[in-house]
């Protein structure tokens, strides 16, 4: 690995560690660092401080790491599989589907709020399945262009459904705004218990696709001559991205920006498009970015907690534009 790539890995890992520390140490209530450490090591006495660290901040930090990593990986997989720099979980309909599922629960069945992550997950995966079915049937099925167009159409369908729900329940729209803007919530481990298997399968699939994606980057014909099946790889990458993005939406709402930008930043900073570098470092970078954004969102105006989406944009866009200018 070149010195430049080692430096990028070192910086992203340092950012991740700093993010974890800040996420656990900072919040509305001042908890002394000593008490934070004692709580994590199981030495703290029972009381609000221990509850705040173990039942509110720790689950939220883990959520941010997993969601950030998942979105970074999902974006890297899709951009590689579709050969399109604009690819992100939005493109395969997951974001729109998850948004519809969550808004359905929030607005039409608010009494069943516990089903919110399930709704987001089920409809996110349903949207992605529809996209794949539409893209794969008929002549020239499985091509990148066809997948993208099918994604745009299915996403429009679910977005229309979301708008319809918001029109039908105007008095409850306020409760949906936070989800649409994207944000983590301090609510313990409940949601992670539901979605962790989807993260696990998505990450395992992503790791297994690293080498085939590198071959696919050479073009479908070359990849096929090397024994890789381009359509199958594309389907696998889409499926893994759908699992990761839907599980992320179930926990943190709609944070599409992260999946689009992080892989580009890593690619430009590392000076390579190798998936062996881009996929794992996008995971670390995505986690670090979301941790930073979430810590800002809940400490900038305490006790109010703001949606994290805008903060990630504030942090990520200047970095992205600077790298883009250098690359150009």
């Amino acid at each position: 690995m070149s010195g430049r790539r080692v430096l990028v890995v070192a910086i992203t890992v340092a950012a991740l560690l700093a993010g974890v520390g800040a996420s656990l140490a900072l919040g509305t209530i001042d908890v002394p660092l000593r008490e934070v450490i004692d709580s994590l090591l199981g030495r703290a006495e029972e009381g609000p401080a221990k509850q705040i660290i173990l039942q509110l901040r720790l689950p939220r930090t883990v959520d941010a790491i997993l969601v950030g990593a998942a979105l970074g990986v999902a974006g890297a997989l899709l951009q590689g599989a579709l050969g399109n720099p604009l690819a992100s979980p939005d493109v395969i309909g997951v974001t729109a589907g998850s948004g519809f599922g969550a808004i359905l629960i929030l607005l039409a069945f608010p009494g069943s709020i516990a089903l919110l992550p399930v709704g987001a997950l089920v409809f996110g995966l349903t949207a992605a399945t529809l996209v794949f079915v539409v893209a794969w049937i008929g002549p020239d099925g499985g091509g990148a262009g066809r997948l993208i167009l099918a994604g745009i159409a299915i996403a429009a369908l679910f977005a229309a459904g979301t708008t319809g729900l918001m029109t039908a329940y105007p008095d409850r729209v306020q409760s949906a705004v936070f989800f649409l803007a994207g944000g983590l919530v301090s609510d313990g481990w409940d949601e992670m218990k539901v979605v962790w298997p989807y993260f696990a399968v998505g990450f395992v699939l992503a790791v297994s696709l690293i080498r085939p994606l590198d071959r696919l980057a050479l073009g479908d014909d070359v990849a096929a001559s090397l024994g890789t099946r381009p359509r199958l790889i594309r389907l696998g990458a889409g499926g893994a991205a759908a699992l990761l993005a839907a599980a992320s939406a179930a926990i943190a709402g709609l944070l599409g920006f992260l999946g689009l930008v992080v892989p580009h930043v890593i690619r430009m900073a590392g000076g390579t498009a190798s998936h062996g570098f881009v996929v794992p470092v996008s995971a670390i970078g995505g986690a670090a970015l979301l941790l930073a954004g979430d810590t800002l969102a809940r400490t900038v105006k305490p006790p109010l907690e703001l949606p994290v989406g805008p903060f990630m944009v504030v942090i990520g866009v200047p970095m992205f534009l600077w790298l883009l200018r250098k690359a150009v």
């Binding site: 509305t28 509110l56 006790p303």
Partner: protein
């Protein structure tokens, strides 16, 4: 009554009630957080002081530290956990937060009434939780007396459209909403185009409004006091509403506080204000 006067009256009542109320038993929760105006005011009227109350737009129960509320959880969970509450009186709006509070081993109750009829039972529920049953019964009797006085001698029953929000989009209060029910007690015939909604609000068409021809239109904007004049002027410039009796007779008004939006104990005085200022049916 001005907000300052209301606040002073409320505080005086709290102190009086606190002095008269019987002491709670050892079993009653000591550290109570009331997140809604209704639960905070009920506790105040029962002579129980919560350790914190939920911040509300235009709220006047300024007798305990306030917690800022925001979607989706309601209160900040770290702030709430640090208070170590024995009982949290919450709202259905914070369903997601209520689940988290229970996970943090807090006792959470949601005694929020949807209508005035529902309110009496909810008051007695809260009174039972804090071991002030007798005070609860007295409070219910007082509110019923106040409502009875406020609804006497209706001289007319004007058609009234009660509109939610700041825009010109007619999301109207239905009879099953808090404000809609109070309007009916005040003698109004609600313009609702026969719409039904469990939420108590519905968007009706401008054609239905022209057809119903309301005598009075009242906007409930949930806005800051300094913005009310601008909102009223904006509503009065609505070309469709100008066609109605309310528009032609300049009877388009704006309601300034949350008394028609959220459950509260001052139903009698709200009815009196509505009748005097808007319906003019005394």
């Amino acid at each position: 009554m001005s907000r300052a006067a209301t606040r002073a009256a409320c505080l005086a009542f709290v102190l009086l009630a606190a002095a008269l109320a019987a002491p709670a038993t050892a079993d009653a929760p000591k550290r109570i957080v009331a997140l809604t105006p209704f639960s905070a005011n009920t506790l105040a009227a029962l002579g129980v002081k919560p350790i914190a109350i939920g911040q509300t737009l235009g709220g006047d129960a300024n007798f305990a530290p306030t917690l800022a509320l925001a979607h989706p959880n309601g209160p900040n969970m770290e702030q709430l956990a640090s208070l170590r509450p024995g009982l949290v009186l919450s709202s259905p709006t914070w369903t997601r937060g209520n689940r988290t509070m229970r996970n943090l081993d807090m006792r959470v109750e949601v005694p929020e009434p949807l209508t005035v009829l529902d309110m009496y039972e909810r008051i007695e529920d809260i009174a039972a939780m804090v071991d002030r049953e007798r005070g609860g019964r007295r409070l219910v009797a007082r509110i019923k007396r106040e409502i009875s006085r406020a609804t006497r001698a209706l001289k007319s029953r004007p058609r009234v459209m009660l509109v939610l929000g700041v825009g010109r989009t007619p999301y109207v209060f239905l009879p099953n909403s808090w404000g809609g029910y109070i309007m009916q007690l005040a003698g109004a015939r609600l313009v609702d185009a026969n719409a039904e909604s469990r939420s108590g609000f519905a968007r009706i068409s401008d054609e239905a409004i022209v057809d119903a021809d309301p005598d009075v239109i009242i906007g409930v904007p949930h806005a800051r006091a300094e913005d009310l004049d601008g909102i009223r002027d904006y509503m009065r410039s609505n070309e469709i509403w100008k066609l109605t009796q309310a528009g032609q007779e300049n009877r388009i008004y704006v309601w300034g506080d949350d008394a028609l939006l959220q459950a509260n104990l001052d139903v009698g005085s709200t009815i009196s204000r509505v009748r005097t200022r808007f319906l003019k049916n005394r």
